[in-house]
Symmetry: C2
Subunit: 210 residues, 2 copies
């Protein structure tokens, strides 16, 4: 009986943790980390604010967890795009396009992940994930050099140039000042923007005019 009680409590705890994470995610996707207040998250998750601190040491730890979950999703999408059929040039272009288009479709969350000023603890996660993207690109660039679809280059340096170029060039278009802080599900005017970013990046990699 004592054992079943414990399991029930454990399940309830896991359930509360899941709801806290879901509600925080929604808050951040709706208005960035800045707008995700603990009282609001607690109300949404139907728990006391104190309960949140039983699951996460601090607001920053909770935010770091949300950052990891949301960014891992994007890293996986880039990895998927890099796994399509074709040479490295085509695969890298697809991955960059995937990254930019997904960001522009969910600009609030993308802005929070890429550029929102956040606590150093969350910023640490950001640096780690930038390395994760760079490593994916680096691998594809090496394959491109090996198969001769890309000229010889320092794959590691080029990969970080790619990450920087695409992230930085999205900062302005994604910023709340530009988007009004709202997601634009059916705004397809992004094509020229995405095209010009991809053009710079692919020229940087290939040295060939597009």
């Amino acid at each position: 009986m004592a054992y079943r009680e414990t399991e029930k409590m454990r399940n309830r705890k896991a359930e509360a943790r899941k709801r806290i994470i879901e509600c925080t995610y929604e808050c951040v996707a709706g208005g960035g980390f800045r707008s995700a207040q603990i009282t609001r998250i607690a109300a949404c998750a139907g728990v006391a604010t104190g309960t949140i601190y039983r699951h996460f040491e601090s607001k920053e730890d909770l935010f770091a967890e949300i950052f990891r979950i949301a960014t891992q999703r994007e890293v996986d999408k880039v990895a998927e795009a890099l796994a399509i059929e074709g040479n490295a040039v085509a695969r890298l272009e697809a991955a960059l396009r995937q990254f930019a288009e997904r960001a522009l479709r969910g600009p609030v969350m993308a802005w929070s992940l890429i550029a929102e000023p956040v606590d150093p603890k969350v910023e640490e996660e950001r640096l780690k994930f930038r390395r994760a993207y760079a490593e994916l690109f680096e691998q594809a660039i090496k394959e491109g050099i090996g198969e001769d679809s890309l000229p010889d280059q320092n794959a590691r340096q080029s990969s970080t140039c790619l990450v920087g170029a695409i992230a930085e060039s999205l900062v302005g278009p994604l910023s709340p000042a530009q988007t009004g802080g709202a997601d634009q599900a059916d705004n397809n005017d992004h094509d020229p923007l995405v095209d010009s970013i991809i053009c710079f990046c692919m020229q940087g990699l290939t040295g060939a005019r597009r």
Copy 2:
């Protein structure tokens, strides 16, 4: 008499503020924002910690001021390099090289300015300065398009790609894990690194193989 007293006090206050800024700058240049503790800064400046808070509302405000001073110096250097004789391609290359070489000569401060996880208040300054760099590059790119030394392109997008590519590709080489947290005044092994960053950036701009 009362007037002279006031002026003397004002001078002393200005003097203390100057020393606080200088000492904070030194601390940051020596070990990043993280290592710049208020007690250490106060000891170095020869003031009580309370005095620091009479000059700056918070540690974050003091850090934001240091960030502005240090970054403005770098922005000015880039502007200088962009003002040399030559076409836009040559001037942009000189500016990018200037930026990268200066960063690698003072990696601790450069890492703090470019990538150290910092308080959101300081991060806000970082976003502003990234726009300042981008605006300088954008102007030069427009001139390049006008004089036909650069192909037609979205100058604004390309300028942010440049800022992102050069900053991001320096993050790894500048990180304390790489540099051991020390400045390397006479290490000239950076040339291949700088060359590969410049190569990517200039190819991105020109679409011509280098």
